[in-house]
């Protein structure tokens, strides 16, 4: 019987190595795998590359992971936002590397990784600082930048309901990067609010089929903060 559920965070985090690239789902406070991030802090892996839309806020979660010196590099579209104090400090002190990627290119690079596209040409960012050093090529009359697939060694994902095959559905804007990162992670770990029996999720409405999921842990943590 396929059963991707694990019952404790040590099992959920098992095998995450130092130096790993970790994709972290969520947009704003919604759909963030907070319990998994806490578990990653506990787990101890260091020298990480974190891929997320933001560079953390406040001093908990991702910000805490950074503050502990465990993140060597962050890849994101929106590093500087309200409350990104830890990132600001580390960045000013030269203690963290930053790669800024346009949000759509970030999503598309991970989707490419998940879909076996090795690289692609996009007009986004042509002629800007974010295209510096990248190959530019005219395709059908439009200048495009060459962008490469962005894989994760690990993806941390939050969802609304999961079953034991790892089929996932999401809630509202909690979907965001989560399904894309699930595809792009070699080891995809999911925290779910609710557990469904196999077959309870309608095959027509499953957003992330279990093939993209390795482990699921039930964390009914409730709503994002208002």
């Amino acid at each position: 019987m396929i059963d991707k559920f694990v019952t404790n965070m040590a099992d959920a985090m098992s095998g995450i190595a130092d130096g790993a690239t970790v994709l972290v789902g969520g947009f704003g406070q919604v759909g963030q795998p907070n319990a998994l991030i806490e578990a990653l802090i506990e787990h101890g892996a260091k020298d990480l590359t974190v891929v997320a839309n933001n560079a953390g806020t406040g001093r908990a979660g991702l910000a805490r992971l950074m503050e502990l010196g465990r993140v060597r590099r962050i890849v994101c579209s929106f590093p500087r936002s309200t409350g990104s104090v830890v990132f600001e400090e580390l960045y000013a002190a030269g203690k963290i590397e930053l790669e800024i990627v346009p949000q759509g290119t970030l999503a598309e690079r991970m989707r490419a990784a998940g879909a076996g596209v090795r690289a692609f040409y996009t007009p986004t960012a042509v002629g800007t600082k974010l295209a510096e050093g990248k190959e530019v090529r005219e395709i059908g009359g439009t200048n495009c930048v060459l962008e490469t697939a962005l894989h994760g060694d690990v993806a941390l994902v939050e969802c609304w309901t999961a079953d034991r095959w790892g089929n996932l559905v999401f809630r509202s804007s909690g979907r965001n990067f989560n399904p894309v990162m699930a595809m792009a992670g070699k080891l995809t770990i999911v925290q779910t609010q609710h557990v469904a029996e196999l077959g309870e999720l309608d095959p027509e409405v499953i957003v992330t089929p279990g093939i993209f999921v390795n482990r699921v842990i039930h964390v009914p943590y409730g709503d994002p903060p208002l």
């Binding site: 929106f78 960045y91 990627v101 346009p102 949000q103 598309e108 007009p123 974010l130 804007s173 979907r175």
Partner: protein, 217 residues
């Protein structure tokens, strides 16, 4: 500022209302942070305009009443919103496919500067800022069918924001189609800025004096 400008300059709400009035029924529209967000409030409820938010909403509705907030439903600016009847949710890659694939009829963004060739600078506040937040601005500026900018005509200390060449780091090349400022509405065409409307009591020459590129009428 001259008295005429002081007296008749459009407010943020007036700018947003002007943009809203120009959006026909049926358009798919993405609204950036700031004044662009206000545009939605001025589209009459009877006119179906479908608002896209890049974090995975199509058919975004107005802010909810305080006691009816769904904590799972936010927009790209992280504000609590609603979903209209007919709206749908999608993941980030599908959401940006709408933007990058040319399916959004109109994107409205704020900006620091717009050049007469349509270049836009709206993401980095200085060339020395090494960690600016780009978000979806570059995707939107390049991908939407039309890009309209809403911004003050000049900076607080009076420097023009409509220029021959942007000084701030660029968001996209030759992308802007129209600009709504507090003083005027301008289109960007082959030859540069064309003035479509000026606030009451201000002449073309007075507007030109506040602009860093040649205007035509």
């Amino acid at each position: 500022m001259s008295d005429a400008v002081k007296n008749s300059a459009w407010s943020r709400a007036e700018m947003a209302a002007k943009v809203a009035a120009a959006i026909p029924e049926g358009w798919y529209v993405n609204l950036g942070i700031g004044i662009p967000t206000l545009v939605a409030d001025f589209v009459p409820a009877t006119r179906e305009v479908v608002i896209h938010s890049e974090n995975g909403l199509l058919g975004m509705g107005p802010a909810p009443a305080k006691d009816a907030i769904d904590p799972w439903l936010i927009n790209a600016g992280k504000q609590h919103v609603t979903l209209r009847t007919g709206g749908s949710y999608m993941h980030h890659a599908d959401s940006f496919a709408m933007i990058r694939g040319g399916h959004i009829d109109l994107c409205v963004l704020g900006a620091f500067e717009v050049a007469s060739n349509g270049d836009i600078a709206n993401w980095a506040t200085s060339v020395n800022d090494t960690a600016p937040a780009v978000g979806g601005a570059m995707d939107l500026a390049v991908g939407a069918k039309r890009l309209w900018v809403v911004m003050e005509h000049t900076t607080k200390d009076g420097r023009p924001r409509l220029v021959d060449q942007c000084q701030y780091p660029l968001t996209a090349l030759a992308a802007v189609d129209r600009i709504y400022t507090n003083l005027a509405v301008l289109d960007v065409v082959e030859s540069g800025f064309v003035v479509r409307e000026i606030i009451d009591g201000v002449s073309f020459d007075e507007l030109q004096a506040r602009t860093g590129a040649r205007l035509s009428q």
